[in-house]
Subunit: 256 residues, 4 copies
Amino acid sequence: MGIRLVPSACGYLHLHNSNERSGNSFGDQMNSTQKYGRAFEALKKCCGEEWAAFTEHEFVRRLGNGTLPREAYLHYLRQDYVFLLHFSRAWALAAVKAETIDEIQLAANTLHGLITFEMSLHVETCRKEGMSERELAETKEELENLAYTRYAIDAGLSGDFLDILLTLAPCVLGYGEIGSSLSNVRTSDEYLPWIETYAGEEYQSVCRDLGQMMDGALERRLGKQYQSLPRWNSLSSRFTDATRLEAAFWQMGLRP
Amino acid sequence: MGIRLVPSACGYLHLHNSNERSGNSFGDQMNSTQKYGRAFEALKKCCGEEWAAFTEHEFVRRLGNGTLPREAYLHYLRQDYVFLLHFSRAWALAAVKAETIDEIQLAANTLHGLITFEMSLHVETCRKEGMSERELAETKEELENLAYTRYAIDAGLSGDFLDILLTLAPCVLGYGEIGSSLSNVRTSDEYLPWIETYAGEEYQSVCRDLGQMMDGALERRLGKQYQSLPRWNSLSSRFTDATRLEAAFWQMGLRP
Amino acid sequence: MGIRLVPSACGYLHLHNSNERSGNSFGDQMNSTQKYGRAFEALKKCCGEEWAAFTEHEFVRRLGNGTLPREAYLHYLRQDYVFLLHFSRAWALAAVKAETIDEIQLAANTLHGLITFEMSLHVETCRKEGMSERELAETKEELENLAYTRYAIDAGLSGDFLDILLTLAPCVLGYGEIGSSLSNVRTSDEYLPWIETYAGEEYQSVCRDLGQMMDGALERRLGKQYQSLPRWNSLSSRFTDATRLEAAFWQMGLRP
Amino acid sequence: MGIRLVPSACGYLHLHNSNERSGNSFGDQMNSTQKYGRAFEALKKCCGEEWAAFTEHEFVRRLGNGTLPREAYLHYLRQDYVFLLHFSRAWALAAVKAETIDEIQLAANTLHGLITFEMSLHVETCRKEGMSERELAETKEELENLAYTRYAIDAGLSGDFLDILLTLAPCVLGYGEIGSSLSNVRTSDEYLPWIETYAGEEYQSVCRDLGQMMDGALERRLGKQYQSLPRWNSLSSRFTDATRLEAAFWQMGLRP
């Protein structure tokens, strides 16, 4: 993370090939994992093992097989409540930085959805688990929680619309992949409502829209060959940093 | 406008009295102009003649008596389309700066309303006047238009939630007052749809909510005696600067 | 100005040719006007007549032939004092957005130079003209003054380092060109100290450093062919918008 | 940390008393720890044990008694190099948010000092320890490092000048206290150059200037009784959050 003085491993030179490959192969286009668009696939490749460290984290596996301790789940929910507030603020910053009406609208809709519906859903879920909203509001934000949202907000302040979009994407799209995946491989119903929220058509549709927006926003600014530009290197670093911070968030969740 | 090195005329010392007066008088509380809250009334007093220069501008009077040239109205509509985009971005910045869920929600709802409903309404109004959305999108933003929205966005970047809130308020609440007033005093139906939009209950309700939010946001941070603090001086300067910039916007509208 | 929905006249397609031409011709490289770098030359071409409207403005010509009324000059100096404060803030924002140590250092040095030396020089110049610092500090910022600096700050908030750099460049480099030019063509010594400040080696060296930084910052992010990207279109629009706002500043200066 | 919905323990009500006490007692004024001003003393009291957890952290004690492993010190230096870059960016943001020339100048000077002198000193120190600047530049920023600087930058984006000032203060003034204290109590010369840097008159003078600026900036905005305002509560929370994040930074340093 941080200020880049030296190109990272997944540089723009190496991407040239993977780019051509992914663009031409029929198999790739049919691949169900491409459902969130071209840029997302390329970013995951840059990310390498970090992506799996996030989306296949022990916390995730235990949601699927039902072995996640209730206490860890509640810890996660409490922190996620605070996360949601700052994640909403980060999406608001994306709206500040939008350059077209479509971009403002996608960011505004996401913000509105997060702070209105998601927040209510979250409070309701917590209520069912025995936590009042007042208790939630008293949650002390932990380091790993704070790190991701403030990193995203700084990405927005220091970079442009693409920087913040690609920093927010791992969270939104990662949950989409995790939901889809767990709905197929889960061996327990213990955390089914959580899984169904993110596997559900409504959330999946949000993911597809965001993926499409990313593809459009990249091409509109950088042209079709954007993966051959040095700019791609710093953008994919944003995505990778955010992915690492998401994995740290799961790790925090496991802590008692 | 700009960086304050010397207290302006409506300083916090003088307000001490007006504050006590406005807080205690029964008549003031009944006054129909207090419908948007206590802070708004105090801010208008600080503003002095600038407030009338905006809300009773020649452009406004001519909307009411029907003598505003159609060309001037169309000029205004075109510029207002661009204004709406940046005004939405400024409200998004208010959401970034909110400190409570209520504050984020009010800012997010306003942003959502502006970029979704207002924008559609605006495009539809312009279409009826013979302007396509493409034509609108090609509008060259004029100096007076740019000045207000960028001033508001900078107020948000340099100050806190209160600074941007009080910079956005003159536009929202001023249109509320103008709409109410014109619906009573107009002598022509030429611009009735415009007047009814802002005089209507839906818009008036938005104004009351914003006014209430302002009162709450000020007290939550600065206590009940906020008008006796030096901070009030810089906040009311924001309101006055924004009011002047709104008057300049009307003046631009009159230009052929 | 404002949000771009439609490519402007100086689009990235047309630049392709001019780009190749300017890069290969020996004559161009020798051209004294290329002293501030390759990007600056290309940006001026995109700007077209707007550049001359700024650098050859009536205010500038009258500085050179000594016919500028003293009152107009003092009006300009007073506004420029306020301008300097917000222009400094804009350079501080550029430092926030820098991605390398060199970029932070250039922005930090510029900020430091502006707020320490330039400001003292300005106060001293005004003192000689009979204006105290207190009087300067009471200056009411005018619309055209406010418009440029707030536009620049918003360019910084909404875009990345390049956006704010290219929005600040017309002011810094334009004054460099104006100073150089007036030192050659002036027919009066009435405003010689002003002319010598900007024609002098110290200021010219600042301009060359900035121009070089612009070339490097563009290539580091967008590669050598940056003028063929759609991104170039929005960047050159920033430069053109800022140039227009600079011309409006001179126009304000002429006003009594 | 995070969005405040419920007043924290050190609320504005309780401070009323401690405020009067600290303002009137002769002993307090003589107290050597008040050397960085009135606000700093009050903020430390709000902070409670968190302040000691930072300034008397095991990492600090081991710097003083020479038992800090060289490896831990180098780990700290590497991370501190990256920290310095983002800390500079945060000070640049403070300059963006300043409201008076004095405030801009203090922030600009601090930024300039950090990115010019401190950075050179740091690179030189690391070189002596066998680390090249290239090696430093390749440092992977750790979570605890990232958390503090991005929290500060977000405090600046969401709040006003006071918010970012009080978030940056624990680092600057805490190192001042640590340096002073270690220069008195150290039992080893192992880390003497580090200690002398922060105990030295030059750094102590920076601390006194910052403390004085804090006192002035608070009173200029909130009046002399600022500790009785709800605003004080959120400001002291910023200071406490930042203090916690500083302690986490030391903890990271201890990690192999």
